[in-house]
């Protein structure tokens, strides 16, 4: 009867929370509106697979193979040869000032090498400051180039065979070594959307009780800190689940994002991630005195995590200290998990360490929240 924890009391808190949620339009807006809006906003950026990108050609000779290669590249629709540069330096300058997105260099000995069967090379430098723009152009490259070469060689079957095996398309991504591909973004977006809505909604939910004075009543009635915490945390797990479903379905339907990994593994990691976020939000709400403060604290956490997690900038492109700092955000680990599972089909062993990290966050946040929770109004 006098148990410290009672499922009946937890049930009372849960029912109350769900009713309030149902009546609160803001919650609904954040639950469905924010994910959809963000997906669509980012989606346009992802979806625009730009064609006819300005390109500079540095061709050292004017033989049939070079011509075949240039026309093949033009045929893809991605490359538009606006400039014929006389030297490497000139092409370099064009890219630096943003006049071209690509520089295609076909060396002088290209034809010679093709005929000798001596691994011919072409070099494509891409301005990867806007990597999603360049990625489509790059991904079609290797196949196109090989086919063009085959056609140009036509009857010289033996040489063609060699060339097919040996043609090297060297791609240099300039300014941005990792080069986020379009598919990289949506799994990341899942993490970002969850982080934004989950942390903020939970942080505000408890401070709202303090602000409206209902906390005093709640504390005066027999409910333990653990019950109050779970009563707030569990409903938001459900909200998180709805958001995950929205984002994944939209990712599939709107953008055709490939999904190669295990759905169970992904969903279990999402669960751990959302739990850590909700508990973080709860911890914030034990510190904030008003909803305004809760909001500010959330953003204080949100912005650096966005910058340092690898969502905005490639993690490996960051300086060492920033990488270390990035490790303290659940988002960092979640991004690695989703990208690995969704895009690379990673199994549990491959992401176990990252899931372990997320569990550490859950434990730390839950502990802090319970310690910080004020059982009294002092």
């Amino acid at each position: 009867m006098n148990a410290v924890f009672s499922f009946a009391r937890l049930g009372a808190l849960l029912i109350k929370e769900f009713i309030q949620m149902r009546r609160d339009r803001i919650t609904f807006a954040m639950m469905l509106g924010v994910p959809l809006m963000q997906l669509v906003l980012f989606g346009f950026a992802i979806n625009s697979d730009p064609k006819s990108l300005p390109t500079a050609l540095v061709a050292m000779s004017n033989d049939q193979y070079t011509r075949a290669m240039v026309s093949a590249l033009q045929m893809t629709g991605y490359y538009r040869f606006d400039y014929v540069a006389q030297s490497e330096a000139e092409a370099e300058a064009l890219m630096a000032k943003g006049a071209v997105s690509f520089v295609v260099t076909i060396p002088a000995d290209f034809a010679q090498r093709v005929e000798r069967g001596d691994s011919p090379q072409i070099l494509i430098e891409a301005d990867a400051t806007d990597p999603s723009a360049a990625s489509g152009a790059i991904s079609t490259l290797s196949k196109v180039a090989s086919q063009a070469l085959l056609r140009a060689q036509g009857m010289q079957a033996a040489a063609a065979e060699n060339a097919k095996e040996q043609l090297q398309v060297i791609v240099h991504q300039r300014y941005n070594p990792e080069g986020i591909s379009q598919y990289n973004i949506v799994p990341g977006l899942l993490g970002v959307i969850l982080q934004m809505t989950m942390v903020m909604m939970t942080a505000m939910a408890l401070t709202r009780e303090t602000e409206r004075g209902t906390m005093e009543n709640l504390l005066a009635m027999p409910s333990s800190p653990a019950e109050i915490m779970l009563g707030k945390v569990l409903p938001f797990l459900v909200v998180g689940a709805v958001q995950v479903a929205v984002v994944l379905v939209a990712a599939k339907l709107l953008f055709g994002i490939p999904f190669v990994g295990s759905l169970t593994l992904l969903l279990s990691s999402v669960l751990v991630f959302v739990l850590s976020l909700v508990l973080l939000g709860y911890t914030i709400s034990t510190m904030a005195r008003s909803q305004m403060q809760a909001m500010q604290l959330t953003f204080f956490f949100f912005l650096p995590s966005l910058l340092l997690s690898g969502f905005m900038f490639p993690y490996r492109g960051m300086p060492g200290w920033a990488q270390v700092l990035g490790e303290i955000f659940p988002l960092t680990h979640f991004l690695r998990i989703t990208r690995a599972v969704m895009l690379k089909g990673a199994d549990f062993n491959a992401v176990a360490a990252e899931i372990g990290w997320l569990l550490v966050f859950v434990a730390v946040f839950a502990g802090t929240a319970l310690l910080r929770f004020r059982r009294t109004l002092d």
Binding site: M1, N2, V4, S6, A8, R9, G11, A12, L13, I15, K16, I19, Q20, R23, D24, R212, G213, T214, M215, E216, N217, L219, A220, M221, P222, S223, S224, R375, T376, L377, D378
Partner: protein, 311 residues
């Protein structure tokens, strides 16, 4: 055994002592009024008693449970009605009551809620959002929610502030009915007429308990003398008396003027010539009212504060 038995309670916020060595006992079945001006520490004292605040000094028991260590048990058996309406305005009346019933694990929930709604006369409005209720109805809802789990002690913090006189009358009838059933009630209030409906009262000012006892005891112990003046042009008499030695209060009451002082001899001296100087004015000894006493307390404690700030 006393239901409330606390002594030497001290609570400070920063360097401000909000509750200053408050001692209070309340016996079973008693209705005790807790009076004092705004900001005198009533709410803080009540919060300490139900375990919502930890006192900086002092000890005590509520329903036999230690206020420092047993607050969970106290919460189960106390009904606390907060000064500000603190149920959920975005829940309906019925949902609020169901929430409370579940939290106290009352079974079956629906029966408890239905009975409470019936007693309140709110059955037809059970699906109305609590936030849309008027002040008087909110207060009745809050009271009903507080007593649903049959507490042994009710702590009511200014329950009738902003409620019309008829609703106040009904509220107090209800309190007396509950007390006759054995419930103990501590109620803070501003209203003198409500104080008179309590078995005993305590008066707190700037955190200090200045007086306690029955209304008669408090009035008698204040040691005030009151004269009632009647006649024409009392306003001029009032102006003349204001500030004379021995006259602490001059207050019009309807067609009469109450003149109050703590030193009977000086007061009589001040009034000696009134009947001669103002034609038709009569001076008669009168009853000191609770209000006179409280006004006296208030001006007295302001003096205390002035001394404090100087020293």
């Amino acid at each position: 055994m006393n239901v409330i038995d606390v002594h030497g309670l001290v609570k400070r916020f920063g360097d401000k002592t909000v509750v200053d060595h408050v001692t209070m006992t309340v016996a079973e079945g008693e209705i005790v009024g807790f009076l004092g001006p705004n900001g005198s520490g009533k709410t803080t004292t009540i919060r300490i008693m139900c375990g919502l605040l930890t006192p900086d000094e002092g000890e005590g028991t509520v329903l036999g449970f230690n206020i420092r260590t047993d607050s969970l048990r106290i919460k189960r058996e106390v009904g606390y009605m907060t000064q500000k309406f603190s149920f959920y305005e975005d829940l309906t009346i019925g949902e609020n009551l169901e929430f409370v019933a579940r939290l106290y694990r009352l079974k079956p929930v629906s029966e408890h809620v239905a009975r409470t709604l019936e007693e309140l006369g709110l059955t037809s409005r059970r699906d109305q959002l609590a936030g849309t209720l008027s002040g008087g109805w909110k207060q009745r809802l809050a009271l009903a929610a507080c007593i649903m789990h049959k507490p042994k002690l009710l702590l009511l913090d200014e329950p009738t502030a902003g409620v019309d006189p008829k609703a106040r009358r009904e509220f107090w009838d209800e309190i007396h009915r509950l007390a006759s059933g054995g419930l103990t009630v501590l109620v803070s209030t501003h209203y003198m007429d409500e104080a008179e409906r309590c078995h005993r009262i305590g008066y707190i000012s700037y955190g200090k308990m200045l007086a306690s006892g029955t209304v008669e005891e408090v009035v008698r112990n204040a040691g005030l003398t009151t004269f009632v003046l009647q006649g024409p042009r009392l306003d001029r008499v009032a102006d003349a008396l204001q500030g004379s030695p021995g006259v602490d209060q001059v207050a019009p009451f309807g067609a009469t003027l109450h003149v109050v002082g703590s030193d009977k001899k000086k007061l009589e001296a001040a009034l000696a010539d009134v009947e001669k100087e103002h034609k038709g004015v009569t001076v008669n000894p009168g009853e000191t009212s609770l209000e006179d006493v409280f006004i006296q307390f208030m001006s007295g404690s302001k003096d205390n504060m002035a001394k404090d700030s100087k020293g």
